[in-house]
C-alpha cells in the first residue's frame, strides 16, 4: 500500500493513541478478571458510567472542565520547551484567590463579581507558574523540579490559610473559608449539572489553539520550544516568550481552581486538592500538547473518573480501579510513541524530515 507521508502521519497520530487506549482497556479487563470479576461487565459499566446516559454525560463533562484547564498548564509551557508539572499548585492558589477576594472587597453579587473572582484566580495561578519560567531563565533552575517544589509550597500555604487566617468559624469538622455569596457562584447550564466552567475550558482550549497555530506570537513560542538555538539566532526574545507561556498556562490552572471553588465546592477547603493538576499532565501528554486535542481527551478521562463510583457500587471493586486504568493508559500511550514511523513501508517515510530533538526534555512536535 502506498500512502502519502502526510496521511501516514495522520493515521499514526490518531491510530497509535487509540490502539494504546484499547490495549489499556484490555489490560484493565485482565486485571479485573484476575480479581475474579467479569471483564465484560467492567467494560460495560465503564462505558455506562462515563457516557451511557445523560446523567453520566453530565458527570463526565463536569469532571472534564478542570482537566482541560490544568492540561493547558502543561501543554502551553511544553510548546515553549518547558515541562511544568506543578499545575496543582496554581490550581489551589487560584481556588484560594477566588475564595479570598470577597474578604478584601465587597463584590457585587452578579456576573461581574464572578468575573472578578475568576480574574483573581487566573492572576494567582499565572504569577505562580510565571515564577517557574523566571527562575529557569534567570537562574537556570530546572522547571520540572521547581514547579513541583512550588506546588508543594502552594499546598502548604493553602492549608495554612484555610485553617488559619481565613477559616470560617462555622466550619467545624472540615476547615474551610466562608462560602461565596449565592449570586457569585457559577451555576449549571440550562438546568443541568454541567456548569458554565466547561464553557470556559472549551473556550480556553480553542482560543489557545488558534493562538498557538495561527498567530505570530504562537509561532514564535513554538520556535523557542522546538529549537532554542534557532530562536536565539533569529533574535526572538526567548525569556519573554517563555515567561509569557508559563503565565498563560498558570492562568489556566488558576482559573480551574477558581471554577472548582465557585461552581462545585462554594468555598475553599481541602477537597480542592484532589490531584486534578496531576491528571492534567496525563491529559496534556495524551493530547500531544495540542490544545484542541486536549478537549476530547479531557472528556474521555473525565468519563473514566465518573465511571469509578459506578464500578465500585455495582462490581464491588475499589474506586482506585480508575487510577489503575489511567496508569495503564498513560504508560501504553507513551510507549506507543516508539512505534511512530515504523508501521508503514520505509520508502514512504523518507519524504518526511523529522527534526532531530536534542534533549529528552524537548516536547515532541505533533503537527
Amino acid at each position: 500500500m502506498k500512502l502519502s507521508a502526510r496521511s501516514i502521519e495522520a493515521i499514526e497520530s490518531f491510530g497509535l493513541p487509540l490502539a494504546a487506549l484499547a490495549g489499556a482497556l484490555l489490560l484493565f479487563g485482565v486485571f479485573v478478571w484476575f480479581g475474579g470479576k467479569s471483564p465484560l461487565e467492567a467494560w460495560a459499566l465503564l462505558f455506562k458510567g462515563a457516557f451511557g446516559d445523560w446523567f453520566s454525560w453530565q458527570n463526565s463533562l463536569q469532571r472534564a472542565a478542570p482537566l482541560m484547564l490544568t492540561a493547558l498548564c502543561v501543554a502551553i509551557p511544553a510548546r515553549a520547551g518547558l515541562i511544568v508539572i506543578g499545575g496543582e499548585g496554581a490550581l489551589v492558589l487560584g481556588g484560594l484567590a477566588c475564595a479570598g477576594l470577597p474578604y478584601l472587597l465587597a463584590l457585587p453579587a452578579n456576573a461581574f463579581g464572578t468575573a472578578l473572582l475568576l480574574l483573581a484566580a487566573a492572576a494567582a495561578g499565572a504569577a505562580w507558574i510565571a515564577l517557574v519560567g523566571v527562575l529557569r531563565q534567570w537562574r537556570g533552575v530546572n522547571e520540572t523540579i521547581s514547579s513541583l517544589l512550588l506546588a508543594y509550597t502552594a499546598i502548604a500555604l493553602f492549608k495554612h490559610i484555610v485553617e488559619g487566617p481565613m477559616r470560617d468559624p462555622a466550619s467545624l469538622n472540615k476547615p474551610s473559608t466562608r462560602p461565596l455569596a449565592e449570586g457569585l457562584r457559577i451555576v449549571g447550564m440550562f438546568d443541568s449539572d454541567v456548569h458554565w466552567g466547561l464553557v470556559y475550558g472549551v473556550v480556553a482550549c480553542i482560543a489557545l489553539g488558534v493562538w498557538l497555530f495561527f498567530t505570530t506570537q504562537g509561532f514564535a513560542t513554538r520556535v523557542v520550544g522546538g529549537n532554542a538555538r534557532a530562536a536565539r539566532l533569529v533574535g526572538l526574545p526567548s525569556t519573554r516568550i517563555i515567561v509569557v507561556a508559563c503565565a498563560i498556562g498558570g492562568a489556566c490552572a488558576g482559573l480551574a481552581g477558581g471554577i472548582e471553588v465557585a461552581a462545585v465546592h462554594t468555598n475553599a477547603n481541602a477537597s480542592l486538592i484532589a490531584g486534578l493538576g496531576y491528571a492534567g499532565i496525563l491529559v496534556a501528554f495524551v493530547a500531544r500538547q495540542n490544545p484542541w486535542l486536549v478537549m476530547p481527551v479531557a472528556v474521555l478521562f473525565g468519563g473514566f473518573g465518573a465511571a469509578g463510583s459506578l464500578l465500585q457500587r455495582r462490581l464491588g471493586v475499589p474506586d482506585a480501579s480508575v487510577l489503575v486504568l489511567q496508569g495503564f493508559a498513560f504508560l501504553l500511550i507513551l510507549a506507543s510513541d516508539a512505534l511512530r514511523g515504523r508501521l508503514f513501508v520505509p520508502a514512504a517515510r523518507d519524504a518526511v524530515a523529522h527534526p532531530v530533538l536534542a534533549t529528552s526534555l524537548t516536547p515532541k512536535e505533533a503537527t
Binding site: 515541562i83 508539572i85 527562575l135 531563565q137 534567570w138 537562574r139 537556570g140 533552575v141 530546572n142 520540572t144 523540579i145 521547581s146 513541583l148 517544589l149 512550588l150 508543594y152 509550597t153 502548604a156 500555604l157 492549608k159 495554612h160 485553617e163 488559619g164 496531576y278 499532565i281 496525563l282 501528554f285 471493586v317 475499589p318 482506585a320 480501579s321 480508575v322 487510577l323 489503575v324 486504568l325 489511567q326 496508569g327 495503564f328 498513560f330 504508560l331 507513551l334 510507549a335 510513541d337 516508539a338 511512530r340 534533549t359 529528552s360 526534555l361 515532541k364
Partner: protein, 311 residues
C-alpha cells in the same frame, strides 16, 4: 526563674523530639533518595518512585501480615519496588519515550495498584520492624523514646556508604556513572547503555521499596491510602540538594526528616501555629538552594551530564 527553666526544658523537649523525628521520618527519605540517586547517576530520572514507594509500602505490609514476619515483608517491599521500577526502565528504553512523563504514569499506576490491592489491608495489624533501643544509657524517657531507632536506618547508612564506595571503586559503579555522564563513551566501550540504565533503575526501585517498608512497617506503621505525602517526589529534589552524592543524601534525608518532625514536635508542646508552614520548610529550602547554586551558564556541579534536568 521557673519561667526560664520551663522554656528551656520545653525547647530541650522539642529538640530531642526533632532529633528522634529526623531519624524516624528521615529513614524513608534516605532509602528513596538513595534509590533515586542510583537511577539518576545512570542518566535517568524516575519520578515514579512515588508510585514505587506507595506500592511497596502496601506489598511490604501485605507480606508481613500474611507471613507473620516483618522481614519477609521488607523483602516483598523491595522486590515489588524493583518490579515497578523495572517497568519504568524498560518503557524509558524505547525510542522517543520521555522519562519524566513515564515517571508520572508510573506514579498513577503504582498508587492505583496499591490502593486497589491494598483495600483489604487497611484494618489489620501487621508485625512491625523491630527497633534498636540506643537510648538505654539515659534515664530520661524522652531521650529513650527519641533514640528508639528503626533497624532500617542503620541499613540505609550502610547502603549510603556502600554506594559511595561502589561509585568510586567498583567496575559496576564506574560503568553506571559512565552511562550517566557520557552514553557515547559507554557505547564505545561496548556496554549497552539501556541495559545499564534498566539495571540501575531496578536497583534504585529495590532500595526505594525498603523505604516503603519503613513507612508501613515502622512509622506510621500501618497501611492506608494517605501513607506517603509525596516523599517519592521530594526524593528527586533531595538528590539535587545532595548534589548526587549518596553520603550527602544521608545528611539531606535527616535534614528533611527533622524539618518534617518540627511541626508535630512544636504541636506537642502546644505551639500549633504554622503547622503546615513548617512542613513546607524543606521545599522552600530546596528551592532557595537551587536558586542559589544554579546558573544559566553551566550545569549543576556534580550532576550526571546525560540527565535531562542538568542540561
Amino acid at each position: 526563674m521557673s519561667a526560664d527553666a520551663g522554656t528551656g526544658a520545653l525547647m530541650a523537649n522539642v529538640l530531642v523530639a526533632v532529633l528522634g523525628g529526623a531519624i524516624r521520618v528521615g529513614t524513608p527519605f534516605l532509602m528513596v533518595s538513595l534509590g533515586e540517586c542510583i537511577t539518576e547517576k545512570s542518566g535517568r530520572i524516575n519520578l515514579g518512585l512515588e508510585g514505587v514507594l506507595v506500592f511497596s509500602a502496601m506489598a511490604g505490609f501485605g507480606g508481613a501480615y500474611l507471613s507473620g514476619s516483618p522481614w519477609i515483608g521488607v523483602l516483598a517491599a523491595g522486590l515489588s519496588g524493583a518490579l515497578l521500577a523495572l517497568l519504568h526502565g524498560i518503557v524509558c528504553s524505547l525510542p522517543r519515550v520521555n522519562d519524566i512523563a513515564t515517571g508520572i504514569a508510573l506514579m498513577l499506576l503504582g498508587s492505583g495498584l496499591a490502593f486497589y490491592l491494598g483495600k483489604p489491608l487497611i484494618q489489620p495489624q501487621a508485625p512491625q520492624i523491630p527497633s534498636l533501643p540506643l537510648g538505654e544509657w539515659s534515664d530520661s524517657a524522652q531521650v529513650r523514646a527519641a533514640l528508639q531507632i528503626n533497624v532500617l536506618f542503620p541499613i540505609g547508612v550502610l547502603l549510603a556508604l556502600l554506594c559511595t564506595w561502589a561509585f568510586r571503586s567498583t567496575r559496576f559503579g564506574l560503568v553506571l556513572r559512565m552511562a550517566g555522564d557520557s552514553s557515547d563513551a559507554a557505547r564505545a566501550l561496548g556496554y549497552s547503555v539501556n541495559g545499564i540504565r534498566i539495571a540501575a533503575t531496578t536497583l534504585g526501585g529495590f532500595i526505594a521499596g525498603l523505604g516503603g517498608a519503613s513507612l508501613s512497617l515502622y512509622y506510621p506503621g500501618s497501611w492506608n491510602e494517605g501513607l506517603s505525602s509525596g516523599q517519592g517526589l521530594i526524593a528527586v529534589a533531595l538528590v539535587i540538594f545532595a548534589r548526587w552524592s549518596p553520603l550527602r543524601c544521608l545528611g539531606a534525608a535527616l535534614l528533611f526528616g527533622g524539618a518534617g518532625a518540627l511541626g508535630p514536635a512544636l504541636q506537642s508542646v502546644g505551639i500549633s501555629q504554622g503547622y503546615y508552614l513548617f512542613n513546607a520548610v524543606p521545599y522552600v529550602l530546596t528551592l532557595l538552594i537551587l536558586v542559589w547554586t544554579c546558573s544559566p551558564r553551566r550545569s549543576l556541579k556534580g550532576a550526571p551530564m546525560e540527565l535531562g534536568v542538568s542540561r
